[in-house]
């Protein structure tokens, strides 16, 4: 469903992605691991359409469409979702109102009728239950004053509401204690289905104790330098990145 071919991208004059290839099939979970500065977050941002990156070569197709030609909201309409490494605070924007606007924008773009307030509340309650979350976050402004764990949970909750075909979790495990990590991982697992693909971008093997990936890729110096199964992550855990001839950035 996602096919990245020879992707090169730079920030300013600095090339970060240097010919990256990645194939993701329907329902698969891929972990992308790599040391700091290897280009992991850049990949997540380029796929989601964030400003500030220039793609100089290569292609990205998503369900047969040229993803790079689309605005961020159009990518979301196609079913792409980015769980942010640093979820953004939106003071004054109510979480429930925000989710309803997002869901209805996506539905409208797909030619589906908008959900009314009652149907929306019903859906929200149901998804909260699936994720074992309470509704305390919903009445507050989006991420505003949330703890790190609450922000990450809110990302997973948005994912549950928007039902993407491909979710990219950008270092969702960073800064979480074990309990928060488990809640987030349980959420991702609860949302796992044969139609939904997931990219887990992570620095540590830790997250993969809780979410079983089908494939593991090592990203270094702007390229995927090795791909394998779950065992690759364990090998990295044991030997560190140095084993693959990569220097950890300071």
């Amino acid at each position: 469903m996602l096919s990245v071919k020879g992707l090169r991208a730079k920030v300013g004059e600095k090339e970060i992605l240097k010919g990256l290839d990645l194939e993701i099939g329907r329902g698969e979970i891929h972990a992308i691991m790599g040391p700091n500065g290897s280009g992991k977050s850049t990949l997540a941002h380029v796929l989601s359409g964030r400003d500030g990156y220039t793609v100089t070569a290569g292609s990205v197709t998503f369900d047969g469409q040229d993803l790079l030609a689309l605005a961020p909201e159009e990518r979301a309409h196609l079913g792409l979702f980015l769980a942010f490494q640093y979820p953004v605070e939106l003071p004054g924007v109510n979480n429930t109102y925000f989710l309803k606007a997002a869901l209805n924008a996506i539905r409208a773009a797909r030619g589906q009728p908008e959900l009314d307030a009652v149907a929306f509340m019903r859906l929200m309650k149901e998804r909260l239950k699936v994720l074992h979350l309470d509704d305390s976050l919903l009445k507050r402004p989006v991420n505003f004053g949330f703890s790190g764990g609450e922000k990450k949970r809110n990302e997973i909750f948005q994912m549950a509401m928007l039902e993407p075909k491909l979710a990219i979790l950008d270092e969702t495990d960073s800064g979480l204690d074990i309990d928060a990590l488990r809640i987030v991982a349980d959420g991702v697992n609860a949302l796992r289905n044969p139609e939904r693909s997931v990219i887990l971008v992570t620095h540590y093997q830790r997250l993969l104790d809780y979410i079983q990936p089908d494939y593991v890729h090592v990203l270094a110096r702007g390229q995927i330098i090795r791909s394998g199964g779950k065992s690759l992550a364990l090998e990295l855990e044991e030997k560190g990145y140095g084993w693959l001839g990569i220097e950890e950035a300071a």
Partner: protein, 434 residues
């Protein structure tokens, strides 16, 4: 009337309150002399530094005496759904009893038309009218006083209470010649009373007109006034508002000022503490777009000790909109333990928009807690991207962030139906901006 250059027609017709009251004639006459003495302020005078009166004068506004008969159905769509209020409706500055709702007021409370009270019981207002505004009135207040005529009066005796809000609807109806209305309002709350005043400036049709209003408020010891002022004038209109507030000991005053309409709107808010332990909370939101100019001037005088004031104004500017925020908090030498904080935050949506912001503290006392701060910024690209990454289109995303910014002020509006109505109107105007 030679030297009142440009403003002769503002004072022309006979007053509705032609009452033969000597004291009233004297006050009008003094104000008239003051207008003549001042001439037209130029941009060299500090209070007018950022704005020019030329455009106002070019319109050739004149006062019109005749009343505009309206059926209650004509204003139904302007009412706040479900709001039960003591309602005074002024049409082009004149009391419209057939549109108002004042039956069954409790004893000791008077709510009604200034012109009527001047006719029937002038002594009820004699000691209050024009005394809070004082003798040194700037041009437009002096003009209002010189033409002093009709408006809202709220008088509450000690020990009285109001179960409903007082709602003033000032309705402007366009006429063939551009006209000016100069409503004059007086609110006097005796010790220990509480009231909620909703002032709304609205129009039936898009038209060119000018509203020059003055409101005088006196709060007795321990009195509480929740005041909401919503300005939704026609896009072509001129709107001038002067508010003079005097706060007795331990009184509480909160004013939420929403300014959305008019091609030029100016608000002068003057607050003077006259007793200790009083508190005032002045907050506002202005939305200024293409061909709009908006001025907010605050003058808060802490002349007695141990009072608290908060000044918090937020602005959203777009198109070639231009705003001026000029806030001054003065703390007199004896006003020890004053607690004052003034903040002005602005959101600029386009390059052509502009704001001049000038918060000032003048502190003569040495044991005080005072601060001021000002920000001028743009929408945060990170926030925009976050919304768009969730499928929300760029225009709606910008509007949501603007409403989030404005919400901090709009959320103070009560009842909920009023908050919703004003929020929707702000959202509607933002559609042009985003």
């Amino acid at each position: 009337m030679s030297a009142v250059s440009g403003f002769e027609q503002w004072l022309a017709p006979a007053e509705a309150a032609a009452s033969g009251l000597q004291w009233l004639a004297t006050r009008r006459g003094e104000a008239r002399a003051r207008v003549q003495g001042q001439g037209v302020p130029g941009t060299k005078q500090e209070a007018w530094r950022y704005t020019s009166l030329t455009r106002l004068l070019e319109q050739g506004f004149s006062a019109v005496a005749e009343s505009v008969p309206l059926q209650p159905e004509a204003i139904e769509h302007l009412l706040i759904p479900g709001l039960e209020a003591w309602r005074v409706v002024l049409v082009n500055g004149r009391f419209a009893p057939e549109l108002s709702a004042l039956a069954g007021l409790p004893a000791g409370v008077r709510i009604g038309s200034l012109a009527e009270i001047l006719r029937t019981d002038p002594d009820a207002v004699k000691d209050r009218l024009n005394t809070i505004a004082g003798p040194d009135q700037p041009l437009f207040s002096a003009l209002n006083t010189a033409g002093l005529d009709d408006g809202l009066v709220v008088l509450m005796d000690a020990g009285t209470a109001l179960a409903r809000p007082v709602e003033l609807i000032h309705l402007s109806v366009g006429s063939e010649t551009p006209r000016v209305a100069q409503p004059r309002h007086l609110v006097v709350l005796a010790a220990g009373t509480q009231a909620h005043l909703i002032e709304r400036y609205v129009t039936l049709t898009y038209a060119l007109y000018c509203t020059n209003s003055v409101l005088e408020v006196t709060l007795g010891a321990g009195a509480v006034l929740e005041h909401q002022r919503i300005q939704l004038e026609s896009p072509d209109a001129f709107h001038l508002a002067a508010l003079y507030v005097r706060l007795g000991a331990a009184s509480r005053y909160r004013c939420t000022n929403i300014a959305v309409g008019a091609s030029w709107a100016r608000t002068d808010l003057t607050v003077r503490f006259s007793g200790e332990h009083a508190a005032c909370d002045l907050q506002g939101l202005y939305l200024v777009g293409e061909r709009q100019l908006l001025d907010v001037h605050l003058d808060v005088d802490h002349c007695v000790p141990r009072c608290v004031s908060r000044e918090y104004f937020k602005g959203i500017l777009y198109g070639k909109g231009r705003a001026v925020f000029d806030g001054c908090v003065h703390v007199a030498r004896d006003a020890q333990q004053t607690d004052a904080a003034m903040t002005n935050r602005n959101l600029i949506l386009c390059e052509g928009a502009e704001v001049d912001t000038k918060p000032q503290l003048e502190i003569e006392a040495d044991d005080v807690k005072c601060s001021h701060g000002t920000t001028v910024g743009q929408l945060d690209p990170e926030q925009l991207f976050y919304l768009r990454s969730r499928g929300i289109g760029a225009a709606l995303a910008r509007r949501m962030l603007c409403l989030g910014f404005a919400g901090e002020i709009l959320d103070a509006l009560t009842p909920e139906a009023l908050r919703m109505q004003v929020t929707q109107e702000v959202g509607r105007r933002l559609e042009q901006a985003t």
